[in-house]
């Protein structure tokens, strides 16, 4: 199984995702440079955390225009698995692959800490290895991770079981405690918490590995 990790010039969790996939998960990983129009032969794509192009404008607002995002959109349209973490989530939302928006944290400050997440659905290629309701311990680190959407969209997301994770201790004011969402086809996920930071026993939690493992098993059965 090969994971492609997209590298924007300001990505800074790209290597962490790469490392988690290779060293903790034991699968292959390779980097995909942001101005490349092709993803190459990868089975899944990770949009990692960081500050894609500095994000002095709205987070992800410039990244959505990058050449690699055209390829990511095609990959997603063909049913490929796309995992957006933190800045990757912000980019997916800006690019229109996921609904809603991520705005400044309610506390107006960057927040880095471990949070507890409730897995709201196991019916996704990203949570198949988890049990519905399972609580995961995974860190967040962001300044603009407050998820917002209009009521109708939120109702729709909930009705369709597309809210994947909810914060048990909401760190950023996200509406309805939403920490991660799926697209309608359920092959694209965006989440603010960092599973790659909870993949190594040395880092204090390996709950993040569940997400990567779910992807591997979903791909194996595809």
């Amino acid at each position: 199984m090969k994971f492609g990790v997209v590298v924007f010039p300001g990505s800074n969790c790209d290597h962490d995702a790469w490392y988690a996939v290779r060293e903790n998960l034991g699968e292959e990983a390779e980097f995909i440079w942001h101005d490349s129009r092709r993803l190459g032969a990868v089975d899944a794509v990770i949009l990692p955390g960081g500050f894609a192009y500095g994000d002095y404008l709205r987070c992800g607002a410039i990244a959505k225009f990058s050449p690699v995002m055209e390829a990511v959109k095609r990959f997603a349209a063909d049913g490929g698995l796309v995992l957006g973490i933190c800045n990757g989530f912000q980019i997916l939302v800006e690019a229109g692959l996921l609904p809603g928006a991520l705005v400044r944290n309610a506390g107006l400050k960057f927040v880095c800490r471990e949070v507890l997440l409730r897995t709201e659905t196991a019916e996704s290629p990203f949570t198949g290895a988890a049990a519905a309701g399972q609580v995961l311990r995974i860190p967040v680190a962001h300044g603009e991770g407050c998820y917002v959407a209009d009521e109708r969209t939120l109702d729709e997301l909930e009705a369709e079981g597309r809210v994947v994770f909810r914060y048990i201790d909401n760190p950023n004011g996200s509406v309805r405690d939403i920490a991660g969402v799926l697209n309608a086809a359920r092959n694209v996920i965006g989440m603010m918490p960092h599973p790659e930071r909870a993949s190594d026993p040395l880092m204090g939690s390996t709950d993040g590995l569940l997400i990567f493992r779910s992807m591997v098993s979903a791909l194996a059965h595809a």
Binding site: C13, F51, K109, F110, V111, C112
Partner: protein, 739 residues
């Protein structure tokens, strides 16, 4: 050429004697541009002219040292072909004028110092000092400075992608008009791929990379070398503006360009910008450098040679490439979307020659410019000290209340509000981040080792007795490392002092350096680099002497030993014993500060030899896996340490029974060194280790669910619930800021 007036020379902070030396070096009067160049290179900030004589007393060699002071950062060997490059640097003056950008560019500057050596930065720590947040005339300003500094550090470090893993933050009235922002950074490189800031190879191109040059930060280095006056509040344009995204690009591009093998030498443009990087690289390489300012990428129009040479615009580097291989370097910088321009070349005449609009605007020999700044043996007398030696009567009405007061005090309370704004985990190496253990611990993925690091300073002690206090600081750093099982291998220092032209201030500096030298020798931790920040005075009020020491240690990569109690029913042991203290040596404690609002006497007594034995014993206990938690006793003494140990996820407290002849106040709150609190399931295996090293290891109690109780000879001293104390400890800083 217009003659330079004495007034103009004085505004450049050059004395008459210094000016005459310039004339002697040049064999003529300097031009205006040359005057500017000399003034920044010979500023206190760049030349260390007041401190250099004394800095020579510090030990700089050791078995692990690859590069000592004199380069952009010190380098130590961390095994298996890898090295760590690290240094601490201050950005005090800019952070007072513009807290957010001042602190942000402080982070940017030290990060460049690290990656210019070819090392990828993997950790940052900060030592911060502010005026008190409580109700004083300046508290609103102090809060604004604190909030600005913290968000500036967060903004820069988080975006760049380096974890801020630790540090310290202290409040004293002496920092009211002069906050301190000292930033430590550490990076990792292959031992055979270290880059040096030397210009070699006559004819090799000199290449400018990174941000364009603007008018920001002109004379920043000189500003940092003067006291603050009403006027300097007008100096805001002297503070630079940081762009962490650009710095991140610069980092990646530089590290990638270094891999081409086409880079001969490289230096960042920090203080004194283009001036410093050109003449220092030339001086180190024994070469000349010729540059053409018209080629320098500029952000503004109509900049003069003086402005271009003195600009401190951020995120710029200067490198010397191998002639004929420039394109390999340019290709990398183009990939990262950065400017890279050949602005000159290396020459054989030893001169810094600067051309602008076809004319030579400066022509100065590199070596004397970079290295022959005047060296001052400034007179030093007795260190300034206004505190009495005699102690007041100390008698507590309620010791539990006193503990609560201490836990709510600015220096001791939880700094979570600060460090939660920092991304302390990015790069997934952080085994122990802020407040998890006595030192921050990072694994090194490249070679399988782990590094522990800690910062410490204590100006209260230093004001009472700078020499002894600085020894205590070094001892505490080494103890912090021992507690997590690490062996210290190198150190860096940031010396923050007042005006060295005052003999009683100079004496503080000299005694502090001598104390540091003695302790560093004793503990075998060479100083591999650092920074001196003098003239920390505002309107005639100097700061207390504030040396900050950072020590780096090596250990095994494994789940780190934290400071929190983990299970009830374990033995609590005080390795090193209860210690001794008299009322005179109680005057610099946090108890004296927060409870009695007083300062007197002397810092705690330190027996270096005993301290070392305690450290060795504790390290051995940790390596043997006997300790479930370990925490050294420092600010607030035994009682505060016990409380801190209890604030883990499980809220495990302790029942303590002591048998000591000390008064309850001293027993609970004295800050004598050489003491470590551990919890263990196997006290009988701990004792022989302590005995073998000739140190006490007292069983003082048992961990228990939810309460902290301390008795001495049957008398109850403290009884409190862990949750109650935790609430006070964790909420205090936010309460102070919410006013």
């Amino acid at each position: 050429m217009t003659a330079l007036s004495p007034k103009l020379i004085a505004t450049h902070q050059l004395t008459e004697a210094e000016y005459n030396k310039i004339v002697h070096i040049l064999g003529r009067e300097p031009s205006y541009t040359e005057l500017g160049i000399f003034s920044v290179m010979w500023s206190e900030h760049c030349s260390y002219k007041s401190s250099r004589l004394h800095l020579k007393k510090l030990p700089t060699r050791g078995p692990y040292v690859v590069q000592g002071p004199g380069e952009n950062a010190g380098v130590v060997d961390i095994g298996a072909g890898y090295v760590a490059a690290f240094k601490i640097e201050s950005h005090n003056h800019p952070s007072f004028i513009e807290p957010f950008q001042g602190a942000a560019t402080g982070v940017g500057g030290i990060l460049r110092d690290i990656f210019t050596m070819g090392a990828r930065p993997i950790a940052v720590m900060d030592a911060l000092r502010f005026g008190p947040l409580e109700d004083t005339v300046n508290s609103a300003r102090n809060r604004r400075i604190l909030e600005g500094v913290v968000s500036g550090i967060a903004h820069y470090g988080n975006c760049f992608g380096v974890p801020t893993v630790g540090g310290e933050c202290v409040f004293e009235a002496c920092y009211d008009g002069n906050p301190l922002v000292n930033v430590f950074a550490l990076g990792v490189a292959k031992r055979n791929e270290i880059f040096y800031a030397k210009a070699a190879g006559v004819g090799n191109p000199v290449v400018y990379v990174g941000a364009k040059t603007g008018r920001d930060g002109i004379h920043g280095a000189s500003m940092a070398s003067a006291e603050f006056t009403e006027e300097s509040k007008q100096k805001r344009p002297n503070v630079q503006v940081g762009d962490p995204f650009l710095e991140k690009l610069l980092l990646e591009a530089c590290l990638e360009a270094m891999q081409t093998g086409a880079i001969v030498g490289i230096q960042d443009m920090g203080a004194a910008g283009l001036t410093c990087s050109t003449c220092e690289m030339g001086s180190r390489g024994g070469t000349g450098i010729e540059i053409e300012l018209d080629r320098v990428p500029q952000r503004e129009t109509g900049m003069t040679a003086y402005e271009i040479m003195l600009s401190e615009s951020q995120e710029r580097m200067l490198l010397v490439a191998e002639k004929g291989r420039e394109e390999e370097v340019f290709r990398v910088f183009r990939k990262w979307g950065l400017d890279a321009v050949t602005v000159g070349q290396v020459t054989d005449d030893g001169l810094l020659r600067v051309r602008h609009h076809g004319e030579i605007v400066a022509e100065i020999p590199n070596q004397p410019l970079a290295d022959s700044a005047p060296l001052y043996d400034r007179p030093h007398s007795q260190p300034l000290r206004t505190a009495p030696m005699q102690a007041p009567a100390v008698s507590s009405r309620n010791l539990t209340r006193d503990l609560e007061t201490l836990l709510a005090s600015g220096d001791i309370c939880s700094k979570r509000w600060i460090w939660q704004q920092y991304d302390y985990q990015v790069r997934t190496n952080t085994l122990a981040g802020p407040a998890a253990a006595d030192a921050a611990i990072l694994r090194i993925k490249e070679n399988g080792a782990a590094l522990a690091m800690t910062l410490d300073g204590n100006a209260r002690y230093c004001f009472l007795a700078p020499r002894d206090a600085t020894k205590l600081i070094v001892a505490e750093c080494c103890r912090n490392l021992a507690v997590v099982g690490a062996e210290p291998i190198g150190a860096t220092n940031n010396l923050n002092f007042g005006n060295p032209e005052r003999p009683e201030i100079m004496a503080q500096l000299v005694e502090s350096i001598e104390g540091m030298a003695e302790a560093c020798r004793f503990f075998d931790v060479p100083i591999t680099g650092g920074n001196v920040s003098l003239y920390n005075e505002t309107l005639g009020e100097g700061i207390w002497p504030t040396p900050v020491v950072g020590v780096v240690g090596l250990l095994q990569t494994e789940t780190p030993l934290g400071l929190h109690f983990r299970h009830a029913g374990r033995s609590v042991m005080l390795v090193g014993g209860v210690g001794d203290c008299d009322i005179v040596r109680f005057g610099g404690t946090q108890y004296a500060k927060a409870v009695l609002h007083d300062l007197w006497g002397l810092p705690p007594a330190l027996d270096l030899d005993y301290e070392k034995r305690v450290q060795t014993a504790v390290r051995e206990m940790v390596h043997a896996g006997l300790a479930e938690s370990a925490h050294d006793l420092s600010d607030g003494g035994l009682a505060v340490a016990l409380a801190e140990c209890s604030f883990g996820r499980q809220s495990v407290g302790a029942e303590i029974d002591l048998s000591s002849g000390l008064s309850p106040e001293l027993l609970l709150f004295h800050e004598g060194p050489s003491r470590v609190l551990i919890s263990t399931a196997e006290p009988e295996r701990v004792e022989p280790i302590a005995a073998r090293h000739g140190v006490e290891a007292l069983r003082i109690g048992v961990t228990s669910e939810g309460r902290i109780a301390v008795r001495n000879r049957g008398a109850e001293l403290i009884d409190a619930s862990v949750e109650g104390l935790r609430k006070i400890f964790e909420g205090a800083l936010e309460n102070k800021l919410r006013v």
